[in-house]
């Protein structure tokens, strides 16, 4: 089975994130972790402020974009990053998660939006994988 992991592809003017996880909730969790690492590497939010978020999307791909967009929105409006997510529910086009945030020492990469460009979520024998392009 996939271990939860992510890596970034370089590209002109954008960042492409590759995600993998044993299951779909794990994939969404990994997306949050990847975003936080990209924006503020090493930020640890243990015991950080918690909040519950809910997003909608017409399919898995749209749900992934909606989740990442929600996190970007919260970064921009609170100045916090959210590396830790607990996925409470993810079905029927809705996702509910508990997120924990903290203010990082510095931001490394400004991520402004998640795009639908080259977006892909796939289920395979080893679990789930996804590809997501971020506007930076």
């Amino acid at each position: 089975m996939h271990e939860a992991a992510h890596h970034f592809d370089e590209h002109t003017g954008e960042v492409r994130v590759h995600l993998q996880a044993p299951d779909l909730p794990g994939l969404y969790r990994e997306a949050g972790r990847a975003l936080a690492e990209l924006m503020a590497p090493g930020a640890s939010c243990e015991g950080g402020e918690g909040a519950t978020i809910e997003v909608e999307g017409r399919d898995r791909e749209a749900l992934l974009v909606a989740l990442v967009d929600e996190l970007i929105y919260r970064v921009d409006t609170t100045g916090q990053v959210f590396p830790a997510l607990e996925i409470e529910a993810a079905d029927g086009g809705r996702l509910r998660a508990r997120i924990h945030g903290c203010v990082p020492r510095e931001f490394k990469t400004a991520v402004k939006a998640a795009t639908f460009h080259d977006l892909h979520v796939e289920e395979g024998a080893e679990g789930f994988s996804a590809r997501l392009v971020l506007d930076v």
Binding site: T12, E14, F116, H117, D118, D135
Partner: protein, 487 residues
């Protein structure tokens, strides 16, 4: 049963055929879903660079949009974007041709404002560092930086979104009344409706007015290095040896959120209109539809924020210039131009929605839409280079309407990713090199500096020559940097 052999047939890549001295094309025979050809303005070197990323594939995708007319155009600085390539132009026939947020981009009305002064650079060389230092202190820059002094309440923000720069001038005494004559659309897109902008977008933008943001945004103090067209330069108020200021920024988090919000809407409703797109980022709906009109009004509101953002920054810059350099250093606005918008325009095909993503208008002298002061020469067009390279001033031509829907490129276009640029360029060394050339640099980190190194961009002089040779816009002047505040 015999095992099935899976044969992977790679998708063919589009190849450019030269059809003019500076014009190349991918014909509609390349793919059956193309409605018009994909055309790019380029020379051999730029065409070869375009083939290295997927910008041509993206332009071919654009050529499939419902209602598109004439061609999907790529400007000489074209490079890969999301959905539309950056440097892409497409016009869709109204009322039912589509409108696509991807054809404008996330940073709605990212654009450029150029101001001139009567100050000779040679007379103030030793004070440029102080100017740049004060600019960096007066204009918040970098990701998430907010404006403590100018956080709008909801009512004020709605006024700005609906009324644009005239609201800032008449109600808040920011900037000068004469600035409005020298802004694209007078600094206001009148079809804006703030109620089509979500609370989320307003939450992101309410305290970001007058801020630079990050990435490739900048303030650049320059000197006019060379004038190519004396008559046009005189009309624009540009003189050799004088100090100028270039501002590059857009609608910040508000614009990004507007694009995000409406892409989501269109992704859901698009099938109801029987529309399929080859790239989901090209999500679109008929312009005349409820969602199409909603997005167009929200986009205009975000565009008004973008105009307002550059206007407030210019206001602060004016204060810095006169404080440091004296009353003769008053900055006069040459023009403010948008490079991520959609507008309804009349062209040969009829009334169309022209999407310009990383592309600007380049209207000629005959256009009633350009400032009266420029009707003898044409609309100013600005093509900034990267840090350390020249920026160019041009004027649009009447011929541009037939060539490119009156459109021109917006910059040099990225050639390298940020990571590749950081790998090849040592930020601290670059800083020293720029400073050794007399360019004062203010940038939060050397890593960010390396991301925006000249090496990361295409050759701006080459890009400008293509535009000039193609007849889209005429070269007027070349400006070189003497100070940079990087976002």
């Amino acid at each position: 049963m015999e095992p099935q052999l899976e044969v992977h047939v790679p998708t063919p890549r589009p190849h450019l055929q030269r059809i003019g001295s500076r014009l190349y094309e991918v014909g509609t025979d390349f793919r059956p879903d193309m409605l018009v050809p994909a055309r790019v303005f380029a020379d051999e070197v730029l065409a070869e660079q375009m083939a290295r990323d997927r910008s041509l594939d993206q332009l071919v995708n654009v050529s499939t949009l419902r209602g598109i007319v004439r061609a999907a155009y790529g400007m000489p600085d074209m490079h890969e974007g999301y959905g539309f390539p950056v440097g892409g132009v497409a016009a869709t026939l109204l009322p039912d041709g589509v409108v696509s947020p991807g054809g404008i981009g996330f940073d709605i009305n990212c654009g450029v404002r150029l101001l001139t002064s009567a100050i000779e650079y040679a007379a103030v060389v030793d004070r440029i560092e102080a100017v740049v230092h004060e600019l960096s202190r007066s204009v918040p820059a970098g990701f998430g930086r907010a404006s403590k002094e100018l956080a709008f309440d909801r009512a004020q923000l709605d006024h700005l979104l609906n009324e644009g720069v005239p609201y800032l001038v008449t109600e808040l005494s920011i900037g000068l009344p004469e600035d409005l004559e020298r802004m694209e659309s007078g600094g206001r897109l009148p079809w804006a409706r703030s109620e089509q902008v979500t609370e989320r977008a307003k939450n992101r933008g309410h305290d970001q007015l007058g801020t630079l943001g990050g990435g490739n945004h900048f303030l650049e103090v320059q000197v006019v290095d060379e004038v190519y067209d004396r008559a046009a330069a005189k009309a624009l108020g540009i003189e050799e040896g004088r100090v100028t200021l270039l501002i590059h920024t857009g609608s910040r988090g508000l614009g990004h959120q507007v694009c995000t919000d409406w892409l989501k809407v269109m992704d859901v409703v698009m099938p109801h209109y029987g529309i399929e797109v080859p790239d989901r980022q090209l999500a679109c709906v008929p312009f005349s539809s409820r969602e199409g009109q909603g997005y167009f009004a929200a986009m205009a509101a975000a565009a008004n924020f973008g105009f307002g953002n550059r206007h407030v920054i210019a206001h602060r810059a004016r204060q810095v210039f006169t404080r440091i350099l004296g009353p003769r250093a008053e900055l006069h606005l040459v023009y403010d131009v948008a490079h991520n918008t959609a507008k309804v325009e009349e062209h040969d095909e009829g009334q169309v929605c022209v999407h310009r993503k990383g592309a600007t208008r380049a209207f000629g002298p005959s256009s009633p839409e350009i400032p009266k002061a420029y009707r003898a020469v044409g609309q100013p067009v600005f093509i900034p280079g990267s840090m350390g390279t020249a920026s160019h001033v041009l004027v649009g031509t009447d011929a541009a309407a037939a060539l490119s829907f009156g459109s021109c490129c917006h910059g040099a276009g990225r050639a390298l990713s940020r990571t590749a640029s950081k790998r090849q360029v040592h930020g601290a060394t670059l800083r020293k090199e720029l400073e050794a050339r007399g360019i004062v640099v203010r940038c939060a980190s050397n890593a960010e500096l390396a991301e925006e190194a000249p090496l990361a961009y295409k050759d701006v002089d080459r890009v400008v020559d293509v535009v000039h040779d193609a007849g889209i816009a005429r070269k007027v002047a070349r400006l070189v940097p003497v100070g940079v505040v990087k976002g």
